[in-house]
Symmetry: C2
Subunit: 213 residues, 2 copies
DNA sequence: CACTACAAACCAATCGGTCGGTATGTCAAG
DNA sequence: CTTGACATACCGACCGATTGGTTTGTAGTG
């Protein structure tokens, strides 16, 4: 999470005064890191500021409220989450990896920091209506993207659209459940066992779509 | 969550000075309610005190730390959770309900306040090592109880112990995933669809054990 | 008298957020 | 090229409210 990750650093064009984009990026990065490592309750302004190396004034200059910052950081997180899944799907369709490796990757993505962050926010929005509002759009995008991920990767023979949707909903639920279980800590081997079960239970009748490129 | 739920209200026996047991119970009840309705971050001492109608001094007289109170409340919650499941299992084995109703009940139990509370704590213990320690025992009991629930309710033909354990782990993951998904809000019908899919995916080859009573 | 069970004043630390001030940059007029 | 008006980016002292926890005192009981 260094500043080199930021794609918006070319000060070559357009009027930009100080380091506005950088500051915002650092702020979001620090927020994400805190969210994952310390949870929602660890999202106090002070540690975020310290970690980002930014002043209180700068934060409230760029974001009207702490929750606005959190929402912005979370939107970025969900997008990374989504991109990781689509990448795995693409790898599978192109033949770069096989189904087992695909499942491992997908499970890995779910049992990652990103999912933890999602859980934190999911619980947070139950209590904070304004945060819920701020995050709504990003969550909806994520929902659509997840459905698209399954549908663009696999075909389910003999299932209509609704049945397929339900099938992938179950797949997603399984992954979420496993990810949640993992937060309590898992014994070694459980991950692998889950992958194998998942493959058998969910992907048995699924056909990989051919690369259309 | 009224005080009438309390099984410890018979002041008829033994030396008890004031209302010690009552106070403790009110404290735990208020904590649970706050945990569910306001999340971990809503577990401030003040609102708990207000809700329980108890003073600060009383709390710290009975619990050395806020986290001790939380852990105690959570242990109660997990036990209720467990009891609800075992009740459903018993109802099924005795023939009082059929498989569909059983699945509905179990799903209902998972998508309840109790699961929300578990999620909150699960995330909380990632960040607070001492809370993690305080809760450890209750969580382990819950784990065992959940496994027992499946095994005492169903038999899986042609599966050894390990395979059966893995099968029920997947079942539990599905339920957890669905419960988590539900926290974001579900469209009507999704619950039913999940129940049907669950029954087909998980309980297809499961045989209900006979009532041994 | 000793002990439990409580009540409530009190504490330092921290919370999210505001505000006045300054440094830096753009732009248009002279 | 200089100058002054104006906007943006930022800093950090400060605010009232709230945090978990301590302490001191007291009412009731054996």
């Amino acid at each position: 999470m260094t500043s080199s990750d930021c794609p918006v650093l070319d000060d070559t064009k357009k009027p930009r005064r100080r380091n506005s984009d950088l500051t915002v990026h650092e702020l979001k990065a620090a927020t994400t890191e805190q969210l994952i490592n310390q949870g929602l309750s660890g999202l106090s302004i002070k540690p975020i500021l310290d970690k980002a190396g930014v002043s209180r004034g700068a934060l409230f200059h760029h974001f009207p409220t702490k929750n606005h910052l959190i929402a912005a950081a979370f939107a970025d997180l969900l997008q990374s989450f989504s991109e990781a899944l689509h990448q795995s799907g693409s790898d599978l369709r192109s033949g770069r990896i096989d189904v087992s490796a695909f499942v491992e990757q997908v499970v890995e993505t779910f049992v990652s920091d990103m999912f933890i962050g999602s859980m934190e926010i999911a619980l947070g929005i139950r209590v904070e209506p304004d945060l819920s509002e701020l995050v709504k759009e990003a969550v909806e995008e994520w929902r659509v993207s997840l459905a698209a991920f399954w549908n663009e990767t696999f075909e389910l023979k003999g299932m209509d659209t609704a049945a397929a949707a339900q099938h992938w909903a179950m797949a997603s639920n399984l992954l979420r459940g496993h990810a949640f279980t993992s937060t309590y800590g898992v014994e070694p081997g459980a991950r692998l066992a889950f992958c194998k079960s998942f493959e058998k239970l969910i992907l048995n009748e699924a056909v990989i779509k051919k690369e259309t490129a």
